[in-house]
């Protein structure tokens, strides 16, 4: 069994709560750093894609998981980031400048959308963001002087100080670097005043106001940060796709992002990463399993979407805390191994419910 026994205040907010955590994450990072030496370019490309989706999933998790605002339109932010990045590159901007600029532009769009969108919440907010993403998809299709329209837009290869980053290894490291940077930045934000205020706004607006939290401001800022992170992911995705068309950023991508954060476990960055890994690898896994299945199943149309839906339903029914909760339970089981009690995490009925007013 493990008990937190803190002797310093800083231990309460430390990134690694235990020495074993430091070792485990260190090993994970080391493994990710040496992977390119052993993996084939195809798998490196797949992993880079997983990292990009992890970044996007972290962006949505920041909004949905920590401020409780649902968005069905985050593919639009990815699209804006991707197209802005490609456009800046085509105008001759250096790569290291273009990517942050694209992210910032997306963040500005996020704030502009956030200002009217936060007036509604829940299902209505989902509708507003959905409408926004459809509009963006149409605008990209029709604004052909900038976006190349439905015929598409080629993306220039990433270059840093004359070095090409387009090779699978270099691109893998770039994506890993961005992912680690975004993860650390969000972790830092969430363990300081902003993160606490966001959780406050999510759990009780009345109390948040009474404590001096600018509720609307924090909601809009969360929209901006979330959009910015997704814009960053979009910029990287542009290089992965190499050729941008509006149908790369449809509602399906938005839904996949929502699936990632819900299956990962709302309110946890680890969940966002785990969810992104699962959802992005699922199509590959399905296509590998397909040949083993009888024809009557494998030839079915929409098998992938069916599996996505099934996975979501299973999680909502049996593990609402998502992959993150499953992971925490597994860890508790291993740490307390012979003494683990089966009912440790038994879900209990709650009898107390407080009315809330706005």
């Amino acid at each position: 069994m493990h008990f937190d026994y803190h002797t310093r205040y800083s231990e309460g907010t430390a990134l690694f709560k235990r020495p074993a955590d430091k070792l485990a994450y260190g090993l994970l990072l080391a493994a990710l750093l040496v992977l390119p030496a052993v993996l084939s370019p195809f798998f490196l490309g797949e992993l880079s894609y997983v990292f990009i989706l992890c970044v996007a999933s972290l962006g949505l998790m920041f909004l949905t998981g920590f401020t409780g605002q649902v968005s069905l339109g985050h593919a639009a932010f990815l699209a804006i980031g991707a197209y802005a990045h490609a456009w800046f590159l085509a105008r001759g901007l250096p790569w290291p400048l273009s990517l942050p600029l694209a992210a910032m532009l997306t963040a500005v769009v996020g704030v502009l959308i956030g200002i009217p969108a936060i007036r509604v919440s829940g299902l209505y907010l989902a509708m507003v963001t959905l409408a926004f993403s459809i509009i963006v998809e149409q605008v990209i299709g029709l604004w052909s002087s900038v976006t190349g329209g439905f015929t598409g837009l080629a993306v220039e290869d990433p270059k840093l100080l004359g070095w090409s980053l387009s090779g699978p290894k270099a691109f893998y490291y770039t994506c890993l670097l961005v992912l680690v940077g975004v993860l650390l930045g969000l972790l830092n934000l969430l363990r300081s005043a902003t993160g606490r205020a966001l959780v406050g706004v999510r759990d009780s607006e009345a109390a948040a106001y009474a404590l001096g939290i600018h509720v609307q401001g924090h909601k809009v800022a969360a929209f901006g940060v979330s959009a910015g992170v997704c814009g960053l992911a979009g910029g990287l995705l542009a290089h992965h796709l190499k050729y941008l068309t509006p149908d790369g950023f449809t509602l399906l991508l938005s839904l996949e992002l929502v699936l990632m954060v819900v299956i990962g476990g709302l309110g946890s960055l680890r969940g966002a990463v785990l969810g992104a890994i699962l959802i992005s690898l699922l199509p590959t896994a399905i296509s590998r399993i397909k040949p083993l299945l009888p024809d009557s199943i494998s030839k079915q149309f929409g098998l992938e979407i069916f599996v996505f839906g099934l996975v979501l339903a299973i999680f909502v029914l049996f593990e609402p805390g998502g992959l993150n909760a499953r992971w925490l339970k597994l860890r508790a089981l291993l740490q307390s191994f012979p003494l683990y009690r089966r009912d440790t995490f038994k879900r209990q009925k709650r009898y107390m419910k407080s009315e809330r007013y706005k």
Binding site: Y9, N188, S192, A193, A207, A210, S354
Partner: protein, 255 residues
């Protein structure tokens, strides 16, 4: 109206359509006192707190806090003036720990620039530890240390009440508004609360306004009692005076 009053309410009215929640109410809160507001259900006690903390916009009248017009202050800036409150139906941040809830109480003192938070600079870490130190004092004061790292969602009702009180205290208010602090507490917890309210006034120097039904608590800690009924001030005085007032008795018994 005396000049030294901390909070002055003058001819306040609050109507919802045809319902007069508060009608022509005037009162003042003096620095350093514990003022209890009692009254039957629907008397407008909580509505008064909600107007003072800007949840509701007053229909008419004025509210001044430390000489400043409170009704023109945006809702999220009330805390910054030194006014804290608790809620009747506990409004804690359920998915956060006790510690985070208390740290949120210190939100009005700022949490560093965004880039400092993003990079978690050493200066920010020091500021956070300073905030933690202040919070630890409140944890000691209210004996919350066994629950420091527990999630609110798993805490018993009585402890939640205390955490909410602690969160309000963490914002270092000059005026603390408690909305039914003893509701749902057992007699022992209520006795603890009486001692705490007394200490909050005498040791921390905070003026307390509390809406309360429990007359034993009111008699134990209140310097002054105001009885409201149907949005109006019915009676005012020491706990004994108000309890003996025939108007108050008839308001409660409906005679």
């Amino acid at each position: 109206m005396s000049a030294q009053a901390l909070l002055t309410v003058r001819e306040l009215a609050l109507t919802f359509g045809g319902v007069h929640a508060i009608a022509d109410l005037s009162l003042e809160v003096r620095p350093g006192e514990v003022l209890a507001i009692i009254g039957p259900n629907g008397a407008g006690k909580t509505s008064l707190l909600n107007v003072v903390t800007r949840v509701f916009d007053a229909t008419r009248g004025q509210v001044h806090f430390k000489g400043q017009d409170l009704l023109s202050v945006p809702r999220h800036q009330v805390a910054g003036l030194g006014l804290a409150r608790t809620f009747q139906n506990i409004e804690l941040f359920e998915a956060a720990t006790v510690l985070d809830n208390l740290l949120l109480g210190r939100h009005r003192f700022g949490g560093g620039a965004w880039w400092q938070q993003l990079l978690r600079t050493p200066a920010l870490t020091r500021a956070e530890e300073g905030a933690r130190q202040r919070v630890e004092r409140i944890i000691d004061f209210l004996e919350l240390s066994p629950w420091r790292h527990s999630l609110i969602a798993g805490l018993p009702y009585g402890v939640r009440k205390v955490v909410e009180l602690g969160r309000a205290l963490c914002s270092e208010p000059e005026l603390l508004c408690l909305d039914e602090p003893a509701s749902g507490l057992n007699p022992e917890e209520t006795r603890d609360l009486a001692f705490w309210i007394d200490d909050i006034r005498s040791e921390l120097g905070v003026t307390v306004v509390m809406v309360e039904h429990d007359m034993s608590l009111v008699s134990a800690v209140a310097d002054r009692v105001i009885c409201m009924a149907q949005g109006r001030l019915l009676s005012e005085g020491t706990p004994a005076q108000v309890q003996a007032d025939p108007l108050v008795i008839s308001a409660y018994l409906g005679a």
